[in-house]
Amino acid sequence: MGNLISMEGNQAAAEAMRQINPDAMAAYPITPQTEVVQTFAQFVADGRVDTEFVTVESEHSAMSACVAAAASGTRVMTATSANGMALMWEILYIAASTRLPIVMALVNRALSANINIHCDHSDSMGARDTGWIQLFCENGQEAYDSLIQAVRIAEHPQVRLPVMVCYDGFIISHAVECLELLKDNEVQKFIGEFKSVNSLLDISHPYTFGPLDLYDFYFEHKRQQIEAYGPAKQTVIEVGKQFGSLSGREYGLFEAYHLQDARLAIVLMGSAAGTAKEAVDRLRANGLPIGVLKLRAFRPFPSEELTQLLSRFEAVAVLDRAVSFGAAAGPLFTEISSALFASNHRPLLLNYIYGLGGRDIDIEDIQEVGKKLQKTAESGKVEQPFDYIGVRK
């Protein structure tokens, strides 16, 4: 048993960063991420980390400094939320396309307007095409564990892509839970020494980063980048297994909860997965054959694995905590249904939008979803493919 301690999700994330002890961190405070930056600043002030902490004047500069520091052969981290990440947007693409292993804690929060500081996944979803690996967490323990794993995933020689570890604002970031921490030396041993590749500071080998790349080469570079997400998927699995041997907590691309004997499934990401597990327990007690698929890796998206897993189900409900305005469904639903289309056997699919701007979702809400799934499976047809949970008309 490791070191059991009660702390907030943000403190756990900051603790992971302290143990990782990156060479450089550039970050700008924003609610609900603020405490990560503050706690880390205190670590710097107390000499508990060796990190060069750059207190930039904006998130745009935070990500720009991270890009350059990573291109200069150092291990780099940052943290942000919502509008902060929206301001980084341009540089998120540059970080991924330059193949820089930056690790970021993204404390999920709704995007403006209207301004709202509470949780939804619209910030992550806005960045889903930037090229970052995106791992979603159910609780503070997973945020802590995933940040440590993210270093290994990002720096893997066949991956070299930035990773954002996404955890729900307030629901995880500000909730106190009992967590198990690793020892500092265990974390250091697990992540290993940073191995610099093509550093700007290697004066015997000058490099040009960020050249003008026109129609004669850009496409090949994009193809190389696209092909990195295959190894990235394998690396998420391998690192998750190795982390399991170290901590007893194994991770993968997703978690299957009571899916083995189930004919109905609820797919979702983030803290609501915990609520869904409780709802499923209650439904199962009443004889409903239902389980939960908690997706962890939204990028790289485990298309084949999910197709294989879900195609035998009778009915599946996908719960989205974000919207793609003007699209027929939420972004997670679109991915899942697109993956399943490749299969000859497809479950009936329902899509729900829930929890925008921090709106609570409770056990009863998800039990209702379970009942609707059962009805859908029994009737063999989808009456309402798209609906909301917990919103007034």
Binding site: E52, E57, H60, S64, A65, C66, A68, G73, T208, L214
Partner: protein, 305 residues
């Protein structure tokens, strides 16, 4: 200050064969600044003419390490390089003395990049930021910037039937950066190469952020023959459109005093972008510009006296 002969034997870090226009001020400025460096350097450039013309994949004109990230972030990008350098030095992974230099046009400096530059100055990174100020967004096709002088015709401040080109005065960025009270700030011109190289040397010696604003003639945007760039830059200095001075540790010093101060008209008539000012009722714009140049020059004389 090294002699011209000594400087000419130094290995240049920006090679020939890049695709900047003939007569472009930017490459001349870069070469003069880099001649002042006695240690290895890392260059950061913002999106703009210099960046696109020197790094067309799979080629690069840079013999030293170079990073381009985006348009508005040369200063924050270079902050990251300098931070990584300090981190590696602290860990004992390097003991190499190095310098960090950003090159950015007036678009990337006066306008879209001013926030990142201001932040980097306040944080105190040891780096030199050089603005090659060609007084408009030349890379995208000559659009006005806050560095464009009053009366200049650009593609977004064209001279028309009712408007005589740009209707606002230019921003005084050098003074804005001086107001950050960083160790070294200077204004220079490639026409006074010895003054420019000496300033770059002092800037690179500064134990903190330093900034140089350098006038960069642009034959395409200013509409003049490419072989007149340096002459026109010097005329800007002599007319006091572009005074040469430095602010070292908050001490203001004029580094060149024109023997005569010709009227601004002499400078304006060398460039096609001001041709409309000599037609119709636009004489008053020239008078306004002269008054503004005189006023700022008097203020500068006071600060440097």
């Amino acid at each position: 200050m090294a002699s011209l002969k000594q400087l000419s034997s130094k290995k240049e870090l920006l090679t020939g064969g890049h695709r900047l226009c003939a007569g472009c001020g930017a490459s001349i400025i870069v070469r003069q600044v880099l001649l002042a460096a006695d240690t290895p350097v890392v260059i950061a450039a913002s999106t703009g003419c210099l960046e696109v013309a020197t790094t067309i994949f799979p080629y690069t004109a840079w013999r030293c390490s170079f990073i381009h990230c985006a348009f508005e972030n040369a200063a924050s990008t270079l902050s990251g390089v300098e931070t990584a350098y300090r981190a590696l030095k602290k860990k004992g992974e390097t003991d190499q003395d190095m310098r960090f230099i950003a090159f950015s046009g007036d678009g990337g400096t006066y306008d879209i990049g001013i926030q990142a530059l201001s932040g980097a100055c306040e944080r105190g990174h040891r780096m030199l930021y050089v603005c090659y100020d060609n007084q408009a967004y030349m890379n995208t096709g000559i659009q006005r910037s806050s560095a464009t002088p009053l009366g200049a015709a650009t593609t977004t401040s064209p001279a028309g039937k009712v408007l005589p080109g740009k209707t606002q005065n230019r921003k005084d960025l050098t003074e804005i950066i001086a107001a950050h009270h960083i160790p070294y700030v200077a204004q220079a011109s490639p026409s006074r190469w010895n003054d420019l190289v000496s300033k770059a040397q002092r800037a690179l010696q500064a134990e903190g952020p330093s900034f140089m604003n350098v006038l960069s003639p642009c034959p395409r945007g200013w509409r003049h023959p490419p072989n007149e760039s340096i002459k026109i830059a010097q005329l800007a200095v002599d007319t006091c459109i572009w005074p040469l001075y430095e602010v070292a540790e908050d001490k203001w010093r004029l580094t060149y005093r024109p023997k005569q101060k010709p009227p601004v008209e002499e400078w304006l008539k060398t460039q096609g972008r001001f041709a409309h000012l000599f037609k119709g009722n636009n004489q008053q714009v020239i008078e306004q510009l002269q008054a503004e140049v005189d006023r700022r020059w008097e203020e500068l004389l006071e600060k440097t006296s």
